[in-house]
């Protein structure tokens, strides 16, 4: 069984960088890492391929500057290869633009039995890409999977809900989005890390995918960022100088707020 996993490479949340005042978007020129949300999909895919007793996991990613650092992490975990779409014309792509590109990249990745994504990315989190990909590829879409089993030509999914989960089933191939935290992503082994360097990454531009540059990027975006503003600072707190009677002032303040 062959599984394609969409993995987003995002700025390190521990070092998130800054917004560009001209484009009003996040600067993505630093090193990108594998979105933790996608590590669950990668783990799930590896487990499914293992359980099926054959096949491979292929990664698909769209990222600026030919960035592969995040892909290498997923390759080290055990994915076999990757398709990376990187093109200057993609700057400013909205979720639909991204989905168009990813859908083409998934086709390029070869015959897939199952396509996995996260339910939402950690940086953009519109949570709309998986369904749009499914629509563009005319495939069934199942969201919020907490567990996936493949049974012949169909997939059974426990779909997380607020009160528990639904059992759903649909024919393969399908696009399934995986809820964060439902599996424990493996650490790559040292051997896996060494092997990742030589695994194939097929880097392509829009031309290779036959995507019209006017339909993606700023040109094709159906959305516009009109303004970015600094979040309001928290209102200043009241400082009570301790002159020996501070406790009384604090008690009075709490009483005024009807807390005591």
């Amino acid at each position: 069984m062959n599984v394609v996993v969409c993995v987003k490479q995002i700025p390190d949340p521990a070092d998130p960088g800054a917004l560009d005042p001209n484009t009003k978007t996040l600067k993505r020129d630093g090193k990108l890492i594998l979105d933790e949300s996608d590590s669950y999909g990668v783990e799930m895919a590896l487990q499914l391929v293992d359980a099926a007793g054959g096949g491979e996991v292929t990664l698909v990613s769209m990222a600026p500057n030919g960035e592969t650092a995040g892909l290498r992490t997923a390759l080290a975990m055990g994915a076999a290869k990757a398709v990376l779409v990187s093109d200057d014309a993609l700057q400013g792509s909205d979720a639909l633009g991204t989905s168009k590109v990813l859908a083409k990249a998934i086709e390029r990745a070869g015959q897939a039995d199952l396509i996995l994504t996260a339910t939402e990315s950690s940086d953009g989190y519109t949570g709309t890409v998986p369904e749009q990909i499914a629509e563009l590829l005319s495939l069934p879409s199942v969201t919020f999977a907490k567990s996936i089993t493949v049974d012949g030509s169909s997939v059974k999914v426990q779909r997380q809900t607020e009160s528990g989960y639904d059992d759903v089933e649909c024919p393969l191939p399908a696009v399934v989005s995986v809820t964060a935290g439902v599996v424990e992503p493996r650490y790559p082994s040292f051997k896996g890390i060494m092997a990742a360097k030589s695994k194939p990454v097929d880097q392509v531009g829009l031309g290779d995918l036959g995507v019209d540059a006017g339909s993606v990027g700023w040109a094709g975006a159906g959305q516009e960022i009109v303004e970015i503003a600094t979040a309001e600072a928290r209102a200043a707190s009241t400082v009570v100088e301790d002159d020996g009677e501070a406790f009384q002032k604090i008690v009075d303040m709490l009483a005024e707020l009807k807390i005591v």
């Binding site: 992490t73 080290a76 650490y187 890390i193 990742a196």
Partner: protein, 417 residues
């Protein structure tokens, strides 16, 4: 090499993450609760496929040795060039573990480093298969016993433990102390002198492999000590322990003719000493990281203490030590990759510097933290206690001084002749 490669960086990130999740939360149990470190080490080995890598390289070594024994043509074994990652990937876990728990490295190093390495360098194929593989994978715990109550620095000279021939067997007697993993060891390399009725100074040094639970062998509970609490240290008592020649490393007394016994132990010392540079780097790296945060945070006399020049001096010296140690580790990786052997003098000089640097930095870290630094909660207190041992085991500072100076003087004298 002046920095870690991209892959090495990835290994470092992953190992650090594992240690933060698995080791850091149980630091108190390791430190104050006698939690043995072995299961954590095994989990780390399994997680990163380290045991599989050991198994694979062991299989190749044994296959080669068997081919040689069968008289087959085998390509000459060259020292290099080697993949630098094969060395870097053993250094990185040492450095990362030492940032949190240097004792775990001691326990690991003695088991898979010293004990397994002794068997791999001196043992017969049979002995390697019987004992070494399980030690290399951390499935079993090993101890390496040379030190005695009356022989530490003068290990060979004053050694009182003996082996006496008795028919086809040997009878072992003696007492060993400060033995890392002693309380939990499954496999013990016991170093003693062959008593042939000759004066002790003339006796041959021999090594035997013992299993836990053998009649006459007693392994004590852990001794209470200043630091590296996560590395259990104990005593061994041997009272007429009977062994066959199958437990004599090398299989026969022939293997110990001339100075071979001492040379084998010396090679083991060299390896142990270079590992200390990586340990020191981990300790210094963590101390510096903690100190920088504290020096920026702690405000006194109206400013962060990092603004005081006396604090800046401490920080600058820590960085000097960190850079030196890192360069030593990089050099070790480069030399190993190039197949250049490290001389005994260099290994000793490296160990001397590394041990002193780690102990000094960790002590200064306590100082920088003031009263908090003296409290267990702030980590540097543990690192300072742990770092001290680096100046004592694997040859004391004083013994390293002697080793370095004597080697240089001897070389200079022979160059002059």
């Amino acid at each position: 090499m002046y920095q870690w490669s991209e892959e090495q960086e990835m290994v470092r990130t992953m190992v650090r993450d594992f240690i933060d999740k698995e080791v850091r939360p149980v630091r108190e149990d390791l430190e104050f609760g006698d939690l043995p470190p072995y299961d954590l080490l095994r989990k780390m080995f399994a997680t990163f496929g380290m045991s599989d890598m050991q198994r694979e390289s062991f299989r190749k070594t044994i296959e080669r040795e068997k081919a040689i024994a069968a008289g087959e043509e085998v390509a000459e074994k060259t020292r290099g060039p080697r993949d630098p990652n094969s060395i870097a990937f053993t250094m990185i876990p040492i450095i990362e573990l030492c940032r949190v728990c240097p004792g775990m490295v001691t326990a690991m190093g003695v088991s898979m480093g010293l004990t397994a390495a002794s068997i791999m360098s001196k043992g017969t194929i049979e002995q390697k298969e019987r004992w070494a593989l399980d030690l290399l994978t951390m499935d079993k715990v090993g101890a390496w016993a040379i030190t005695e109550p009356n022989s530490g620095s003068d290990a060979f000279g004053s050694m009182a433990s003996t082996a006496r021939r008795d028919g086809d067997e040997y009878v072992l007697n003696g007492q060993k102390t400060f033995i890392t993993n002693g309380p939990h060891a499954d496999t013990i390399v016991f170093i003693c002198k062959l008593d042939e009725g000759n004066p002790p100074a003339e006796r041959t040094v021999v090594q035997f492999v013992l299993d836990a639970g053998m009649p006459g062998l007693e392994q004590t509970k852990p001794l209470r000590k200043m630091g590296i609490h996560s590395s259990p240290t104990g005593q061994l008592f041997l009272d007429d322990v009977r062994v066959g020649a199958d437990r004599l490393l090398g299989g026969s007394e022939e293997a110990y003719k001339g100075s071979a016994g001492k040379e084998a132990s010396k090679a083991t010392f060299s390896m142990e000493r270079t590992g200390v540079a990586a340990m020191a780097l981990g300790i210094v790296d963590r101390c510096l990281e903690l100190c920088l945060a504290y020096a920026n945070d702690r405000v006194l006399f109206g400013q962060p203490i990092g603004q005081f020049q006396l604090i800046q001096l401490k920080i600058a010296k820590m960085e000097v030590a960190r850079l030196n140690l890192q360069n030593m580790v990089f050099r070790h990786i480069e030399m190993g990759a190039a197949g250049e052997p490290v001389t005994y003098a260099e290994a000793s000089a490296t160990k001397l510097y590394a041990a002193q640097a780690a102990a000094e930095v960790a002590n200064e870290a306590v100082q920088l933290f003031g009263g908090n630094g003296y409290m267990a909660e702030y980590e540097v207190e543990q690192l300072a206690r742990d770092a001290k041992v680096l100046q004592i085991y694997a040859g004391t500072d004083e013994i390293q001084v002697v080793a370095v100076a004597k080697a240089l003087l001897r070389d200079a004298a022979s160059a002059a002749n």
